[in-house]
């Protein structure tokens, strides 16, 4: 059984000769396997390397060491010979749609762009409308500019855009943290439905562990560029073995629980 995406002993650092030593990797010795239709959560504090890891997995950055393969072939190989097919099959949705979508492009143009650049053709109006319908938007928004849409609508456009080239893996980097709380749930449910309907694999970076618990079956915990814990989501979050994971769960699960802990400590004093 080969996984769809396989990462083995991967090392990466920004710039080639930072501080000259071999020690300060941004990511060091990362290994993971993602099966077709699988789901993976990536959690860890800010700066731990989550975004860097998914940028490597989608071919936007090149590893310095280690193996990285997609569908049984090294990613370097894909990028050298089938670059566009690889990019189409590995799509990414970023945190802030206001920053990831060009403010001067209409929704129609933004939506057509991946198909134009990766499949060298102009999608039909019917395709564009269908693409929007899939994410719960009406065709009437096609003529609008980003500033004329809400954050939630824009993130739907970004998702529709990523799906337009029929990816096998959808990478989502904090896809709801720039959205209103009351809108986050809509987008998360949409991601769950799409994944199911389209048979996508989903890799999700988020700081919200409740989201990881619902959307992913496996999770890896990054700390300072290393995987400190990995496993089935319910096991890792339910009974963490690594102290850093345990701290993360305690900190993020429900801050009010932290309050209970503080008050107990207060009383013991």
């Amino acid at each position: 059984m080969t996984a769809l995406v396989e990462v083995g002993g991967l090392h990466f650092r920004y710039g080639s000769s930072r501080r000259g030593t071999g020690q300060d990797w941004t990511l060091a010795d990362i290994s993971l396997a993602l099966p077709a239709r699988g789901t993976l959560g990536i959690v860890g504090e800010s700066g731990s390397g989550k975004s860097t890891l998914i940028r490597l997995m989608c071919g936007l950055l090149r590893p310095d060491r280690g193996a990285l393969s997609f569908d049984g072939r090294p990613v370097t190989d894909w990028l050298a010979t089938d670059r566009r097919a690889f990019l189409a099959r590995n799509q990414i949705v970023f945190q802030n749609p206001r920053r990831s979508l060009d403010p001067r492009m209409t929704v129609a143009r933004a939506l057509a762009e991946p198909v134009r650049s990766l499949e060298s053709r102009q999608p039909t109006d019917a395709e564009l409308a269908a693409s929007l319908a899939r994410v719960g938007l009406q065709a009437e928004v096609l003529g609008r500019y980003p500033h004329q849409l809400s954050g939630g609508q824009l993130q739907r456009v970004a998702i529709a855009r990523a799906l337009s080239v029929r990816p096998a893996v959808l990478y989502a980097d904090e896809p709801t943290s720039a959205l209103d709380v009351s809108v986050q749930a809509q987008v998360l449910n949409l991601l769950m439905d799409l994944r199911e309907d389209l048979g996508l694999a989903l890799v999700m970076v988020t700081h919200n562990l409740a989201v990881v618990a619902r959307l992913t079956e496996h999770v890896i915990v990054l700390h300072r560029g290393r995987v400190v814990e990995a496993g089935p989501t319910h096991r890792v979050l339910g009974s963490p073995e690594n102290p850093y994971t345990a701290a993360l769960v305690a900190a993020a699960a429900d801050v009010s629980l932290a309050r209970a802990g503080w008050d107990e400590a207060e009383e013991r004093r």
Partner: protein, 324 residues
């Protein structure tokens, strides 16, 4: 100690915020939660006299027997420096990048206290220790970019409490920080408030965060406060339909074994999105998104007292049948 009645903040013809009532007693910690654009910052800044230039205030904000609405800028600056501390949302923008952090806090003390000379420096070091900055002597000489985001926020907290204010206003003080750092800062603010019997108005878009620090919580939507309750009651038995929907859409992480049952479970949804300022429906502002709305909701809902000093502003609160 702080009594707000019908505080209205408007820019041009647009009313951004209308807070009908909000009271904070001495030493009490009150949280304000709401989504982005709901008016949290406008409210917090208006109380501290830091509202945008173009904003007009009406109504009443009484603080320690003084009316703050209509006070001159100079008089307000005095109250703010000495009696009201303010911690802003983004620490990187609140500190002067070209001045070392120690002297920045010293300057606040020079302006707002009677201290002078060596006493000021000693007090800054004392404050740095109090906000749990490591190696105060070393940190004193650092520029803002030479310390972490969490440390920058500690410096701003030190500045805000330098003159031992009676009221501390914090506008999303941990939003820019990591979850692990966040808890340390929350803990610090809670401890300081307890130790100095300092009242707190704590603003955040995250209920869990507010709940960790506050005694009472108010919920704001579309510039209006819709509910006020003790922290526990608000989180466990919300009465306003918006509060209940918001909690449902953003569930916490259950403990231990229950996590396994979460896989694939969908989130409860609030339909639609938050309208832009000026685009809210008349009457209850949540009406166009509320599953329980009836014709009655086209009229402004009354404020109905609840247990303790709590209240709810809804025609059909949770627990009543009328709203479907």
């Amino acid at each position: 100690m702080l009594t707000i009645r019908d505080l209205r903040v408007s820019v041009g013809p647009l009313e951004l915020v209308h807070i009908e009532r909000l009271d904070i007693a001495q030493g009490r910690r009150v949280g304000l939660v709401g989504e982005s654009g709901s008016g949290k910052s406008i409210t917090a800044m208006s109380i501290a006299g830091l509202q945008p230039r173009e904003a007009r205030l009406a109504g009443s904000v009484r603080f320690e027997d003084r009316e703050l609405v209509g006070l001159s800028d100079a008089a307000m600056a005095k109250v703010r420096g000495a009696r009201i501390g303010f911690i802003p949302q983004d620490p990187t923008r609140a500190l002067n990048p070209t001045t070392r952090v120690g002297p920045q806090v010293a300057e606040a003390l020079r302006l707002n206290t009677d201290l002078g000379g060596a006493a000021i420096r000693a007090r800054v070091l004392e404050l740095f220790a109090q906000v749990r900055l490591p190696e105060p002597e070393v940190l004193y000489q650092r520029y803002p970019h030479q310390i972490s985001g969490g440390q920058q926020q500690r410096v701003l907290i030190a500045m805000a409490i330098a003159a031992r204010p009676q009221l501390l206003i914090a506008d999303e003080p941990t939003t820019a920080l990591d979850v692990t750092v966040q808890n340390e800062i929350l803990r610090l603010i809670l401890d300081l408030s307890r130790a100095q019997r300092m009242a707190l108005l704590f603003v955040s878009h995250e209920l869990g965060v507010v709940r960790a620090v506050c005694d009472d919580i108010g919920v704001i939507y579309g510039g209006r406060m819709v509910e006020l309750a003790s922290a526990g009651a608000l989180a466990e038995t919300p009465r306003h339909r918006y509060t209940a929907a918001l909690i449902g859409a953003n569930p916490g992480l259950p403990g231990g074994d229950e996590i396994a049952a979460m896989t694939g479970r969908r989130f409860a949804v609030i339909e639609g999105s938050v309208p832009a300022a000026g685009r809210f429906p008349a009457g209850c502002r949540f009406r166009n998104r509320c599953r329980h709305a009836t014709a009655a909701c086209a009229e402004d809902p009354p404020i109905t007292p609840q247990g303790g000093n709590g209240w709810v502003k809804c025609w059909h609160p949770v627990g009543t049948e009328a709203g479907r």
